[in-house]
Symmetry: D2
């Protein structure tokens, strides 16, 4: 903690995403950027030139050994998330770890257990939970403006960037599954997936995924690193209203359609007199706040005030459980795969406690 009560934060990984995290930590009134850790000396030099007051290192242990450091932000390759986060928690540091939180649900559960045991904040970096358009739609759904959510169709495609150590499913689907879970209050109960490794052998770069929720909502995800043009389009069709969320534009990211179809007297359907309704289209004003700054603020508040962050460890675990179900469906040639029950944190941790007690 700094003398004026700000959280001292170190960042591990200063590659593609790390600099964005660093910039938001540095700009936060409740945080101080204290360390940057990266394996590449030239990257550290760049960080230093940008933030002359920080300390840099190629050894993550140096951060853990600094008693004044309160928290670490992990933005390294996915395969290293678990190891670094576990070490940081064991050293008593709060942890913000990029999505996906770990490479497996087992590892994610282990991180949750470690954080609980030491009462540390563990925040998986699902930044879309801090995106103003996503929040606006959550508000609309919770207020009943959308009605029953019939279905959701999501496209997240672009040309690039193939990841060296993950498929497009692990890279992009966590975004959509975290959004779906947030909007609908629960993850899917069942998924069905198809994928293809078009360019790099054994590394799927396009995947189509169906998801079914216990509420009856169905969803479709189209994710790809190959596409003629960037699409980040989500359509939400409800019984009362329909919404289009386009994340490629800041001008009108959310558009609300007062439209739908109703069956006036469902029991006398012999007549088949469906009524279609179209009305106004509204693009509500959406603040252009950077999601990452809200995420860092939430992280600091959780550390300083003991609040529960919006992106909980359970969110991170549920997303991984869903991804694992997608992988099982792919391995089974597209057969439906059940997702693990996405309950509250308690059952999971009691299970872990039991297991720990048994062990």
């Amino acid at each position: 903690m700094t003398a004026d009560g700000r959280v001292q934060i170190g960042i591990a990984g200063f590659g593609y995403w790390g600099p964005n995290l660093a910039r938001n930590v540095a700009a936060s009134p409740r945080a101080q950027l204290a360390w940057v850790c990266d394996l590449r000396p030239e990257t550290l030099a760049a960080a230093e030139s940008r933030y002359p007051d920080i300390r840099t290192t190629t050894r993550f242990e140096e951060l853990l050994d600094d008693p004044s450091l309160d928290a670490v932000v992990i933005a390294t390759a996915v395969s290293t998330h678990y190891e670094l986060a576990a070490a940081a928690l064991d050293a008593g540091k709060h942890v913000y770890v990029e999505k996906p939180m770990a490479s497996s649900s087992t590892a994610a559960r282990d991180l949750i257990r470690r954080a609980e045991q030491r009462s540390l904040v563990l925040l998986p970096g699902h930044t879309f939970l801090y995106s103003p358009p996503v929040l606006k739609i959550k508000e609309l759904i919770d207020a009943g403006e959308v009605g029953d959510v019939y279905f959701i169709s999501m496209s997240r495609v672009n040309l690039g960037l193939h990841q060296p150590d993950a498929s497009v499913v692990w890279d992009l689907a966590p975004h959509d599954f975290s959004i779906l879970r947030y909007w609908l209050g629960a993850g899917p109960s069942k998924v069905v997936a198809m994928a293809r490794a078009c360019v790099v052998p054994h590394t799927p770069d396009v995947s189509f995924i169906h998801a079914r929720f216990d509420s009856g909502t169905i969803a479709h995800l189209e994710i790809a690193w190959l596409a003629p043009s960037k699409l980040r389009r989500t359509a939400i069709v409800g019984s009362k209203r329909m919404i289009v969320y386009d994340d490629t534009t800041s001008a009108e990211p959310v558009r609300i359609f007062d439209a739908g179809a109703t069956l006036p007297e469902p029991d006398s359907f012999g007549e088949f007199q469906l009524s279609y309704r179209t009305g106004d289209i509204l693009a509500p004003k959406i603040e252009a706040t950077e999601p990452l700054s809200l995420a860092i603020a939430d992280f600091c508040q959780a550390i300083l005030e003991g609040t529960t962050p919006r992106s909980t460890p359970q969110t991170g675990l549920d997303v991984i459980l869903t991804i694992e179900a997608v992988e099982r469906s792919l391995a089974a040639g597209g057969a439906p795969a059940r997702c693990f029950p996405a309950g509250s944190l308690e059952p999971v941790t009691s299970e872990l406690r039991d297991r720990a007690a048994a062990g």
Copy 2:
């Protein structure tokens, strides 16, 4: 046949689509609109006022009894397609029947057999096979401009029109499956589907469908009668080029992206040096010819010159076989369903001949 060698055509069904067919028959230099048949007298009155020279009737048999009538166009409810088409073929009339050709593959095979026995033209009305943008893309694929077709993503959604006697799968998917079969030269070998009846009980109005082709191509279809705005967008991603086909605009329905990702030396991927390429985007001039006029011309040419129409009976059968596989997947809770082999017409008809011989 008319004195000047034009095909005399009668139309059965003058509801939503029939008038479009009638207009194109009437405008064709190789056809004469001779009859309109519909169960509703007021509809017949409207047809007469539009085409004073035609004859009208509420009894389909009247058309069949007219020896000067060469062919019938069937645009009635799907459930009646088989009965009317079979009767027409038995009466020696050539048949143009709206898609889907019949309600089952058994019925479709039976129609094919009847047409073959009498050497009559049987043309299922897959009008997208006559759509200039679809033809342009077929040209590009066949010329190798697209390269290996990695995947195809299709959205065909709009608000309305719920059909009284069919699900959205039977209503809209035939369009996309006929297009896919035409472009790729074969139908899918496997499909996986999810659907929901949002408004009318037991009548799915939204469906997500995955399809896998023996060539390796995968495809995704999103079809719905509920949507915030009309989408008819198809993205084709190939190893050499990518194409976006937007059927809602006549301005630039086809856009060709000279873009892609290549793996320079696939065997030394340890280095992971993918190369992305983006280049010009071309919207080729596409003639705005009405597909239906080309379909009617193809029908007349087949009758008058004995040519094989682009939309063959086998096309119609294959599409129905694929739809039936979709239905099996839905019935099995989203499990993958194999489509029947989509071979040439011969095996099917020999099978039918064997069966007929056995019977």
Copy 3:
């Protein structure tokens, strides 16, 4: 008048626009399409085949001689508007004449005088006054939703169609000037214009026009028969709201932006603290009614009930006076030209009466 009290209408000119008028007259519950007149026999044959009950002729006098005919709709070349309309009024027929009402303000004033003398309806076909998006914007302006109308920018460009007997100014500018006059309650007091005859010598096919209104509003028109893509875009910037009206789309033709800039304390501007405001964007539901059907209904109502149609003779005259001012500006090398005062009908007709008395 028909036995059931409908207005008997004859149409002169069945070329590009006439068939649309005929269709709307035929579909009107208060009118009967009785005659079509055109110089081309083959055009008359087409009209007859479409409307078997009408009478056709190449001689306009035949319509005038038919005592049962109540009104004529004139959709011929602009240069003939005056002669035909004058003859029809003299024969006691109500007149709907396509825009521009005549080729000069003198001729337009003469038509107004003739109509007044015989108490006949004279309706210039400014169809945009019957266009639902234009009406919606009129409502918003009148309700004060837009505030002070700062400026209006209008683009009406497309590739084609060059007119044989008129410049782009006489062809397209009447649309925009009729809309501006309707929205703002008065025509411009001053115009400045630039033009070029790019393709056909001496026939301008592109023109840029500035207009200034006594209210302080300024406007800009860009009209052209040459353009890479069709634009029919109008932006209205007011002190309270801004509106974009796009006439090329039926999906969201009117979009209302709750945006603006305000100067909190205008007298202490030394500080220069302008405040910008952006808010919701609303696309109100706009009925897709065909403007022409509303125009024909207005014409019939004026004849049958004596009401004043929305598109008054004064509208038609004012538009022509404005066009004449544009022509004067062009002739003067782009110098500003004052438009004639656009007052009520009275002064004009008294002037004409005086002149007639003097003559």
Copy 4:
């Protein structure tokens, strides 16, 4: 000059635009960012924290007194451009000065004279001359791909930012006039303008401008600080092709339409058989290079190698002469105003030499 031959550059003005210039100077391989000068100490602190190696000052004279400084970049308020640039040139520094180069043509001519006398580089910062889409269109025009340039229509509107010491004409029109001059090889010979001060009294925030070129090309500019949505759209209509340049998108900033109208036999126009042609639409690949980096490179090359920069002093002067003509047109109530002849630099400097000799 640095030891390794790089140009030492100081920047005056670190407000809205200065930081962009600083970033590009700092990133240039041929320059070294040596000084930042600004009147606000807190701004200097921000610059220092960003560029730890630079020197900062609130006194411009300090830069001029540094003998190792080769050049200054002036990004202050327009009203100070002349004074600072003149002092810098007198101190023997090369000067890059933001557009407009000065507040009057007299001042601009004076700067040109000073630069010439000392053989210093004077580069007005017309960054659009370094914008890849603008360059691409210049190539197309010069290669004859567009044919005769019939007309150009330009919209540059947005909500904000009102300038404290200039009208929208001085703020935005220099962009468009510099582009027009570059494309067409000469500035306009005549302009006509209308404007309104909607929000801040006496400070026009919207202006419509017509321009006529000796070549016959006509142009229209619409510029505003008030607009419902950002538009930066330019349409170029030529006898052979048409181009749309949209500067708000990096995806397809330039689109080339193979479209037009031709008059097959112009001398027998009695028949009026215009032929319209529409063909492919091409969006050529445009590199996304930042214009400012190219401008700084051009500045350094001119200093180091004695080349003539693309944005010459004459460009800056011509743009100001055109703006002055616009102001004269506005002052004269919209009357056409002749622009000063936009010849080569020679006549102007000889005039200045004569005047200097006379003085």
